[in-house]
């Protein structure tokens, strides 16, 4: 990533005529900062406060200390949801990194289908979660939907897809992958295009196979891109649950698709247990903040040793 250099004459051109310097900048910053304070920083504090209360939608909240957190950590539903969410996030992320990178290599290859391929891989990113959910709900219909028809055509038994506890999560992972992989793929493609051709060509001239060039040169050079993709993908998948709303699995069958976000949504807006739902939100926030911290430390270390 190109980091712009501040010019050495850092004195601004535009502040002199504006009188008081902070006063001059405030009108420019205020619209954005007002939105951030009102809808990002204040709610962050408020969700923390509410997580220590018995808030519902009706009465005014009463302080209950750590009760919600205690309830959360002892709740079988929460622990199940956490493990389902972790499996979901790791599976989708692994697919997005691995297949996303492979697709980027394919999208870079000069073929007559290059433009078609790029368009096709990215198209599901443009399709909304709702549309994707409804399309796949039809594709995965257990009573003769196109996927089961395809399975039967090649002599395999039909699957229950979203209706069976053993296949439901894998089905949601498949849909998320189809909908999501286009973004990492084009980010990887941009990364590939930024690598100077000379390096790979020189290695080929020295007799390296295409696979060796990819493994020893291209993929290591893509490491910064991989960090970005890994982070974007983990952060996105740990909080995603729109598909669960659309597919109407209600987190089931038997909790198989009960993603953390859905667990929060259900407790807040169906059971009106706002305090408890806020405690789970705080947990989710700390989890994502932890991820961000790890990513920050890793990228910092790379800078030092490079």
């Amino acid at each position: 990533m190109a980091v712009a250099q501040r010019s050495p004459t850092a004195r601004s051109l535009w502040d002199g005529q504006l009188g008081a310097r902070l006063g001059g900048a405030i009108p420019y910053l205020l619209p954005a900062l007002a939105v951030f304070v009102l809808f990002a920083y204040y709610p962050l504090l408020r969700v923390l406060y509410l997580s220590f209360t018995d808030a519902d939608l009706l009465r005014s909240p009463r302080w209950v200390g750590l009760e919600n957190y205690q309830k959360m950590l002892l709740s079988r539903e929460f622990l199940g949801s956490l493990s389902v969410t972790t499996a979901f996030a790791l599976a989708v992320t692994a697919l997005e990194v691995g297949v996303g990178m492979a697709l980027a290599f394919l999208m870079q290859a000069k073929t007559r289908f290059q433009s078609l391929l790029r368009g096709a891989i990215f198209a599901p990113v443009v399709v909304s979660t709702v549309s994707a959910g409804l399309i796949w709900q039809y594709m995965m219909n257990p009573n003769g939907g196109p996927l089961n028809a395809g399975l039967q055509a090649v002599g395999l038994p039909p699957l229950g897809w979203l209706t069976h506890p053993e296949t439901a999560l894998a089905s949601v992972i498949l849909i998320s992958f189809w909908k999501g992989v286009g973004l990492p793929a084009v980010i990887y493609l941009a990364g590939l295009q930024a690598i100077p051709k000379e390096l790979q060509e020189a290695a080929r001239v020295d007799g390296a196979t295409a696979w060796q060039v990819a493994r020893r040169i291209t993929i290591p050079l893509l490491a910064p891109t991989t960090m970005v993709v890994l982070f974007l993908s983990l952060v996105g998948t740990f909080q995603s649950y729109g598909l669960i709303l659309v597919l109407r699995t209600e987190g089931g069958p038997v909790g198989a698709t009960n993603l953390l976000g859905y667990h929060i949504y259900q407790n807040a807006f169906q059971y009106f247990q706002m305090g408890y739902a806020c405690a789970v939100s705080v947990f989710l926030f700390l989890l994502l903040a932890g991820l961000a911290w790890v990513q920050f430390r890793l990228s910092e270390r790379r800078v030092h040793y490079q």
Partner: protein
Amino acid sequence: MNSKSRRWWGQLSLEGLSLLMALLFLAPLLWLFLGAFKAPDGLFGGPLLPQEWKWENFVEAWRSAPFGRFLLNSLVVSSLTTLSVGLTSALAAFALARMEFPFKPLAFVLALGTLMIPGDALLIPNFLTIRNFGWINSYWALIVPFAASGFGIFLLRNAFLQTPRELDDSARLDGATPLTFLFRILLPVNAPALSALSVLTFLSSWNALVWPFVATNRNEWRTAQVGLASFNNIEGNTNIPVVLAATFIVTVPVLLVYFLAQKWFIESAASSGLKG
């Protein structure tokens, strides 16, 4: 096998793999387009192409729920959100790239910090806020919380910092005020960054589900996504082709724009990799 024929086979397998992957990713969309025209009993186990093209599915979808209003709401909300994000980001980025003032690092950290806050963890307090404001079932609720973007500020600030300061000098010699300089010169010069930001903002606003789902409960204010999801809740068990027709109505405008400007979309999305 000599190296020439090996290269030929290599190229052939690349071509084949590319076509196969493209078809695999497009297949669900193809099934949507065909399914939307089928009769309910021809949907499962029938031939790939509809035996009889049932345009009635679209008429029925359009009649059973106010999709015109849903689409209008989405258009208004997404356009105004995109406009606001462009405006607030340009102003803040200009201050951060071209002015010196106390607490400047703090302002920058506040903007970037929002990228670290998962929006979904704020669902409950933000819902309480707009309920206090009396904004449930209004455009305000759908636009204002998204009217500024830390990513937008970051993207435009970087673009502005790379723009030569000689432009500022000559504009000032011509007597331009900061605002005229920003909107007449600096933004037009950085049109690629601004348009990438606009495409990403419009798309995420158009496709948003959870927040509009929580912030509206009357058809009048529902966006296309929420309208479609609730339409499926009512009709999904009985008439799948009509639900597919409704999905078609909501999906095709975006896909059309996308396929007309594919390169632009993809390049904009690749710039979101700068986030990390």
